[in-house]
């Protein structure tokens, strides 16, 4: 079934009784050519591009819970490609280009909204850093504009410009950045992959690997063993645990990040704003809720819920940036478990086990990466060589001394 305005109209007249489930609830078959572990955004996108771009038909996505229940449905929906380092920028820019064509590609309304991402600065040093980053972006073909305080004031008159401690001096704008409705991304990729024959198998947890002579031959699951020639891991916050089942130890820690949504308000915030003096970012959803977040809680956690001290810290950031936010009532907050890597950058690579591939370490920035990650991971699985824009995301870069540390924080996952 193709979705279209015409279809929406005729279904409305018929009481919406003609809609079909968007994808099959597949049962596992005994063997596949390729199995993807983890039905989050990255796993589903990988399966889709494996089928679409590389022509594989015999693919399963194994998800221990349900599609959209992980970080893909928990994030604050921001997309951007305003990275500084050469290992990162081409990858995130490719991902942003894929976002720009995604809805036509998968025939699904993901509400891709390029409303701009503005990183504010509050002092000279931060301005210099923004100038440097903006130049680096432009040299690599990414859009970036430096705004002074007047420009920002015209755009966002409600900010606390003359705050005694953190006056707003300007910001770096990426006009093509924005937001995407996160769970629609999971459903859209799931539906598009399903139509190309991919089996999406929910409530199917991978509990072990079958490895013979150093090569993977399949997986053990809660729904029985499944043979596969190639296995790709895309388990986000649980990467370490799943990789440990294959005897691997990763440069990753699991941490919790929280997100917050207020009651619905009239249109107020045009794009995404990030505060430069603390860690706080905010946008407004199409329903009107202010969606915001800040730092991770700071200590290893698999609890999928956050702590009150972080709630206070995030809200203080909001109050320092735009005091009127104190009048909005918070409706909901939640947490998600993420795989924080040792340099803050992801891994898309082979593992020492032949036929076993790793997609991990996305930290709190993996939503924007979803299409690019799926594209590059599919390339690696199908062709056994890294995609050029993801070639720096090697698992051995830590041993080789080629870390990609955007923030220069060193091997401390809780500070990236």
């Amino acid at each position: 079934m193709r979705y279209s305005a015409f279809r929406l109209f005729t279904e409305a007249l018929r009481g919406n009784r003609g809609w079909q489930p968007a994808w099959r609830d597949a049962a596992p078959r005994p063997a596949y050519e390729a199995v993807i572990v983890g039905g989050g955004g990255h796993g589903l996108a990988t399966a889709y591009y494996l089928a679409k771009v590389h022509g594989l038909r015999d693919i399963a996505v194994l998800e221990k819970g349900w599609i959209g229940g992980g970080n893909i449905g928990r994030n604050t929906t921001i997309i951007r490609s305003n990275y500084l380092l050469p290992g990162n920028t081409p990858f995130y820019e490719w991902s942003l280009k894929l976002w720009e064509g995604l809805e036509q590609e998968i025939n699904y309304n993901a509400m891709v909204s390029q409303r701009g991402v503005l990183n504010l600065h509050h002092n000279d040093a931060q301005r210099d850093a923004n100038v440097r980053r903006g130049n680096a972006m432009r040299l690599q073909g990414v859009d970036a504009e430096l705004l002074d305080a007047q420009d920002v004031r015209r755009m966002l008159p409600f900010l606390d410009f003359d705050n005694a401690r953190f006056p707003i001096r300007g910001g770096l704008l990426q006009p093509r950045g924005g937001t995407v409705r996160h769970d629609a991304v999971a459903w859209g990729y799931a539906r598009a992959a399903d139509r190309l024959g991919v089996d999406i198998i929910q409530n199917c947890e991978v509990t072990g690997f079958r490895i013979q002579g150093g090569a993977v031959t399949g997986v053990e699951t809660t729904r029985g063993p499944i043979a596969a020639r190639k296995v790709g891991l895309a388990c986000a916050g649980h990467s370490s645990r799943v990789a440990a089942l294959a005897g691997l130890k990763l440069p990753i820690e699991s941490h919790v990040l929280q997100a917050f949504v207020t009651e619905g308000l009239k249109p107020l915030i045009p794009g995404v704003i990030t505060f430069g003096a603390g860690h706080f970012y905010i946008s407004q959803s199409d329903k009107g809720g202010l969606v915001f977040g800040g730092d991770i809680d700071g200590y290893n956690s698999y609890a999928q819920r956050g702590n009150l001290a972080t709630v206070e810290d995030v809200c203080e950031g909001g109050m320092a940036l735009m005091p009127m936010i104190g009048r909005a009532r918070l409706l909901r907050s939640w947490g998600g478990v993420m795989d924080m890597s040792m340099d803050g950058s992801p891994i898309i690579d082979h593992t020492p086990v032949e036929g076993l591939y790793l997609n991990a370490g996305w930290c709190y920035g993996g939503f924007k990466a979803t299409p690019g990650s799926g594209w590059c991971f599919a390339h690696l699985l199908a062709r056994d060589e890294p995609h050029p824009v993801a070639a720096a995301y090697r698992l051995d870069r830590f041993a080789a001394g080629r870390v990609i540390d955007e923030k220069g924080q060193g091997p401390h996952p809780n500070r990236h």
Partner: protein, 85 residues
């Protein structure tokens, strides 16, 4: 979450700074690159009981070893890092 500092008593966790896994031990200076790589970068990252370092920054400035369940945040024990080696 509250951490019972053996010196100061129960305090909110935001008085403390988290410094990660307490299990890896720095190898001898003549150890192999692989041993240092393991020490600096690789982590067990358990879902369950975890031994971690916390620094009581807004208190007595002690380094502590906390045993905590990463699934529930329940704390099993807190001891001074020094003398616990």
């Amino acid at each position: 979450m509250r951490i019972h500092c053996p010196h100061c008593g129960p305090r909110g966790h935001d008085e403390f700074v988290h410094h990660g896994d307490a299990v890896p031990q720095r190898p001898q200076t003549d150890a192999t690159d692989a041993a240092f790589h393991d020490y600096v970068y690789l982590r067990d990252n358990p879902a369950g009981l975890y031994r971690e370092l916390w620094f009581h920054a807004a208190g007595c400035h002690s380094w502590l070893i906390v045993e905590r369940d990463t699934r529930t945040h329940e704390i099993r024990s807190v001891t001074f890092a020094r003398g616990d080696a």
